[in-house]
C-alpha cells in the first residue's frame, strides 16, 4: 500500500538530487571563473538556494506539509514568518555548533556561516517542510518510536546522513596534504552534500526493504 508513497518519495528525491547537480553545473557553465574550490561560497549559496527552492516546491506540490487548522491569510503569514525565523535560528544554531567544534571564531566567520546555511537548507528545511514550524514535533521525530509516517522515517534518514557526512567531512582538515578541498569549509560542505545525496538514495531504498517491519500509528 506504500508503493505509491515510496515512488513519490523516490521521484521527489531524484528531483532534489538533480537540483543539487544543476546548482553545481549550471553556474560553472554560465559564470566565468566559477569552480567548487575557487569560489566555494558562491557554490554553497547556489546549492543551498536550489535545494531550498526545489524542496519547498516539491513538498508543497506533494502536499506532505501538515494541513493547517485555520485557513486565514493572517495565520498562513504568521506560519511563514515563523518558518523563516526558525530557518534563521537554525543557521545560528549550526554556526554555534560548528564554532564549538573548533572552527575559527572570527577569521572565517562568513565561511562558517555559509556552511551553517547549507546545513540548515539540507536538514532544518526538510523538517519545516515535513513537520511545519513545530520544534516539539522535530524533537519527537528523532526518537525510535517517533516516526508517524513514511516521510518521517525518510526525514530521520536524510538528516542523520547529512549530519554524519558533515561531521566526517572535518576529518581530512588536519592532514598536511595541502589539497584545495581541505580548505575550510569545503570538505565539510562536501561531506554534508555527499551525506545528503546518500540519504536521498538510502531513504526510499531502506523503507522499501523494511516495509514489512514498519508500522506507523495513525496520527
Amino acid at each position: 500500500m506504500w508503493d505509491h508513497e515510496i515512488r513519490a518519495m523516490a521521484s521527489s528525491h531524484a528531483i532534489i538530487a538533480a537540483s543539487v547537480f544543476m546548482a553545481t553545473v549550471l553556474p560553472a557553465v554560465l559564470l566565468p571563473g566559477f569552480s567548487v574550490y575557487g569560489s566555494h561560497l558562491l557554490w554553497l549559496y547556489s546549492v543551498s538556494g536550489a535545494v531550498t527552492a526545489v524542496s519547498v516546491a516539491v513538498f508543497w506540490l506533494l502536499g506532505i506539509t501538515p494541513p493547517t487548522k485555520k485557513h486565514t491569510l493572517g495565520y498562513k503569514l504568521s506560519r511563514l514568518f515563523r518558518s523563516c525565523l526558525y530557518f534563521f535560528l537554525s543557521c545560528l544554531f549550526f554556526h554555534t555548533v560548528v564554532v564549538l567544534y573548533g572552527a575559527p571564531l572570527i577569521e572565517s566567520a562568513l565561511e562558517t556561516f555559509s556552511l551553517a546555511v547549507l546545513l540548515t537548507s539540507l536538514t532544518t528545511l526538510r523538517c519545516l517542510c515535513v513537520l511545519g514550524p513545530n520544534v516539539q514535533a522535530w524533537i519527537r521525530v528523532f526518537s525510535r518510536h517517533g516516526a508517524m509516517s513514511v516521510w518521517d522515517t525518510c526525514l530521520q534518514i536524510t538528516v542523520a546522513c547529512t549530519v554524519v557526512g558533515a561531521w566526517m567531512g572535518a576529518f581530512p582538515i588536519p592532514l598536511d596534504w595541502d589539497r584545495p578541498w581541505q580548505v575550510w569549509p569545503i570538505s565539510c560542505s562536501l561531506g554534508a552534500m555527499i551525506g545528503f545525496l546518500t540519504g536521498l538514495v538510502a531513504a526510499p531504498a531502506w523503507i522499501h526493504y523494511h516495509r514489512k517491519q514498519l508500522t506507523y500509528k495513525c496520527k
Binding site: V99, L100, F142, S143, R144, A170, P174
Partner: protein
Amino acid sequence: MKGLPVLSLLLWMSSVFFVGLYLFVGGFLLVRLEVNRTSGCEDVLHPGQDPVDFCWARPRFRRAVLLIIDALKIDFARFDPNNTTPRPYQNKLPVLQETASSRPLQSRLYPFRADPPTTTMQRIKGFTTGSLPTFVDVGNNFASSAILEDNLIHQLGKEGKRVVFMGDDTWENLFPKKFHRSLPFPSFNVKDLHTVDNGILQHLYNTIIGDDWDVLVAHFLGVDHCGHRFGPDHPAMADKLTQMDGVIRSVMDRLQNDTLLVVMGDHGMTDSGDHGGESQKETDAAIFLYSPSPIFPGPPTQNEPDVVPQTDLVPTLALLLGVPIPYSSVGQVLLPLFPPHGQTEGAVRGLSQLEALWINAKQVNRFLETYSGMAKDIPPESLLQLKDQFSRLSSEYLSSVGEGRSPSQQLASSLQAYLTSVRDTCRSTWAQFNPLKMAAGLSILALACLMCFLLSELSVVLVREDDGGLKVLVVAALAAGVGVAAAQLLSQGYMELTWCLAAGAFSSELLFFWRARRLGSPAVSKNGTKGPKSGGWLTPRRLLIPPLLVPLLRCASLLSDSYVIAEGRVVTFLLFSLALYIPVHLNWDGLLLPPSHDPLKSAGLLPSPALSPSTVRKESSVLLSCLGLLVGSLYLSLSFHGCREEQGSCQPSAFLSPLSRFQDSQLKNIHYVLSVVSLGLWTYLLRRCLCHYGNLNSSGGAVFTARWVLPLLSVCLGLHWAVSATPEDSFRNLGELIRLAQLALPRAAFCLLGLGLALIWLDPLTVFVKTRAAASSRSSSLPPPRYRASTGISPQAELHHLIPQIYQRMRRSLDDGELSGGGEAGGRPMVEAYGLGSVYSAPLLLFWGLLGVGLLLLHPEGMALAFLLLLLEMGALLHIHASSSTLRGLHGACSGGFTVPWTPVVLWSLAATQFFHATGHLPTFPSIQWGAAFVGFPDGHTGTVLPASLVTLNTFASHILFAVGCPLLLFWPLVCEVRGGRGGRGCGEEGEDAVMEMRLRENPQQFSSALLQLSTRYLFIHGTQVFASVCAAAILRRHLMVWKVFAPKLMFEASGFLVSSIFLLIGVSLVLRVDLSVGRWFQRLIPESSR
C-alpha cells in the same frame, strides 16, 4: 566487599601492560654502541707510508681558547647595520661580524649546525667525541655521567696539554678528573642568569694572561638561561648579549699569536627560548674562529662551507692542536683552516688540506671498520660501497704521494665526498631496532588489551569466584619466567630479564584466555535473560557502538603524524561529539522528554513511567545545562594550548609563561588576580560540594583537611605566586625575605599537601553521628517505621534497614536547618548520621581536590584557569552521567547493578588527554615544563629522583587527576539519586527512600564487580591508546617524522599510561580504605543502636 581481589587483578592487569611496553621500548628505542677504543700517536695516520709520530710534530697552534656561549643562535651573532630598530636579540654581538669582515685572514663566522637532540649535555658529548648522539640519551640530561667514549678532552690530556675549564658544571660530570684545573659553577637553576657567567669572568682574564694552560674551555650559560626564563625577545637578552660582546672583545685583546680562539654556541633556541628538538631555530648555532696571526690562506672564497656541522669541530681542533682525532669521530676537517697543497711553507706550518683530509678519512674508515665489526646496524651494501670508495681513494692518494707529484684537487673533493657520505650513512642508520623484542612487546600488548576488555565484561563472574584464579595466573607467570631463565642459563650461560618477563606475561595471558572461555559460557547463559547480551561479547553489534567507535577513531588518529600534531584539537573534537551523542541517544530512546500524554499510554503500549514528567524535565534540563557547561569549558580550554614547532602559525597561550616573564605590570596584575580567583573558586566549589552533602560536620581527619588544610594550601599557593612574580630588583631591601619566601612557601605547601593526603588516608570518614538519648524513650510510643516492622531480625538485616533511616534523618535535619528537628521528627531514630550518603565520594573528592591544588603548584600561575575548567568539566561530566543514568532508570533498569556504561568512561579518559593539552603540555620533549623541578627548590637539586618526579607530576597532572577521580563515576549517579527521590519518589521502589551510596554497602558483591569493571574499562581505553601509538611507532619506524612525532608520542603515551594506572590504583585503594572504615564504623554503631 572484596577489596583485595579487585586490587590485585588491577595490579596484575597493569603489570602485564608494563611488561609489554618495556619489551617494545627496549627493542624500539635506538641505542648506538659506544666504541671503547682510543686513538693514539702510535697508530699512525700520517700521510705517506713511513711511520712518523705526529704527536711530536709542532702543531699549528700551541694553545686554544674555547668560549662556549650556550644557545648562541646564529641570529644573535649576525650584525645587520641597516637594521635601525633591532629586536632585543639582534645586533648585540657586533664584534663577530666586524672582525670577520675587517680581518678576513684571521677570522670567520659560520652557522654551526648541531645534531638533534639539542640539549646541552648531548651537544657537549657531540662536539667533544665527534659522534652523533642517539635518541636514548635525551633522558640522561638529569643524570649526566662521565663520557666513556674517546674524546677531545681525553686526547688533549693524554698529550700533556693542560686543559683548564670554567663554567657549566655539566662538563665536570662528563669529564671527571680530566682537567688540569676546573672551576665548575652550578648550572641547573635556569632562573639564575648570572652565577655561572660572573664566576667565569672572575677568573677568565687572569687565566688567559697567565701561562698555566694550553687549552681553555669556558662555558657561559647566561644566554641560554635568559632564553629559558624570558625568551629571546626580552631586554634581559640584550643585556646578556652585550655583556658577551664585551667578553669576546676582552679575550681577543689578550690573545697571543700562537693561540686560536673559538667562540661557539652549542645549539640555538626557539622563539620561546627553549631547545631540544630539531627545528632549524634550535639546531643553528654560530661558530666564530679567530687568531691574532693570519690563519686563513685568503679572504672567503666560493668554496667556503655554508654551514659547519657540529661534528666537524673535533677533527679540526685535534689536527690544529696536534693531537690524534678521537676514535669514533665521524666529522670532517674544516678545510678553510688548512692551507692548500704546496703552500704549507708559509707563515704557519702544518698539515695541508689534502694531508688533513687524508688523516681524517683514514681515521673515519678505521672507526667504520671497528664499528661494523661490533654491530650490524649499518646496512652492508652501503658499508661495502664506502669501503670501495675508500680503497679507491687511498690507492690514488698513495700512488700520487709515492710518485712525489702533487695530487689533484679532484682528490680532495672526493675525500670530502667520502667523509660526508660516511656521516650521512651513520646519521641515517644509527637506529638499531630489535624486531624480535618489538614483536613480542606488540603481541603482549595486543593480548593485554583484549584481556582488559574481557575482564571488564566478566567482572561479575570474576569477583564472584575466589581469589584462586589470580593465584593460578601469577603462579603460571612465575613458573614460565623461571623456566625461561633456567633455559637461558643452561644454554647461554647468562639470562636476559626481558625474556623472562615476556614469558611470564605471555603465559599468564594465555591461561587467562583459557579460563575466560570456560567462565564466559556460563556467564553468558546467566546474563542471557537480559536480551541483547546473549549474543556473546565480541559481536560487531556490541562493539560498533558510538562510545567504542570514538576510542577507535582516536586510536586510528595516532597512526598519522598530522593528527598527532593536531592531537589537542582532535581529542576535543571527539570529546565534543561523544558528549553531543548522549542527549541525541537519549532522545532516540524517547527518554529525554517526558512522554506526552498521548493515546499510547492509555493503550498500554508503553510502560507507565516511573518518574513524573516534572522530574524528567528537571533531569533533562540538568543534563542539557551540564552539557552546555561541558561544551563551554571545552571551548575555553582550547585557549590554553601550547604550540608544536610543526604548527607554523600558532601562538602559544599567554597563560603558559610564568608571571615573572610579564613586562607589563598591569597585565601581570590582571593575570595574577585571575589565577587567584580561579584558585579560590576551586577551593570554594569543592567545599561547597562537600558541605552540600553534609560531609563537613564531623571532626575526623578528612573533615579537618577540608576545613583547614585545603584553604591554607590555597593561601600558600596564592602567596607563592605573588612572591615569585615580584621582580627581583623592585624590593631590594626585601630581597632576602623574598628569597626565603620562595623557598619556604612551596615547601610549606608540599608539607600541607602531604599532611592533608595522609589525614584523608588515615581517617577518611566524613560521617557525623548524633545520638539522642532523650528521644529513645519516646520512640516506643510511636508506630515503628515500616521497614522495622519485622521483629527478631538478625544484626545483618538490621544493618540493612538502619542505613536508610540514618540517612533519611540526616537529610531531613539538614533541610530543616539542623537544630529545628526537635519534636515530631526526633521520634524515630536514635542515631543520626550526617553525610553517610556520600561517604565514599566525599573523601575521594577531597583527596582529588587537594591533589589538584598540589599539581597546580607545579604549573605556571596562569594554568589555574585551566585547572578550574578541568574541575568544571569534571563536574559537568559527572552530572551528565548521573542525569542520563537517572533518565535511563525509567525502564526499570534500577534493579541493582552499578555498571558504568562505556560512554562516560570514554568521555572521562578523553578528557584526561584533552586536559593534558589544555594545561599547556604537548607530547614533545622541548615542551616539558622543567620549571616544575624548581618549585620549592630554587637552588637546584642534588639527586635526580626528586626533580624527575616533580616534572613527571607536572607533565601528567591531568592523567593523575582523572585517574584518581575515576571511581567518582561509579558514585555520582548514587549521590545524585536524592534529587530524583525528592522530586518524584525514587526510582520505582516507592517505599525505600534515597539511600545514595549506602546501596553499594548493601550489595558488596555488585560494588566490587562494578568497581573492577569501571577500572578495567578505564585502563582498556588508555591501554588501546598506548597500543595504537606502539603500533604507529612500529609500523612507521622509518617514517620521516618518527623521531619528531611518533617516538616522543609513544614515550608520553606510555608514561601517561604508567602514571594513570598507578593513580587509578591509588584511587581504587582509597575507596577500599573508606569501605573498610565504614565497615568498622557500622560495627561500632550496631551494638549501640540495638540496645
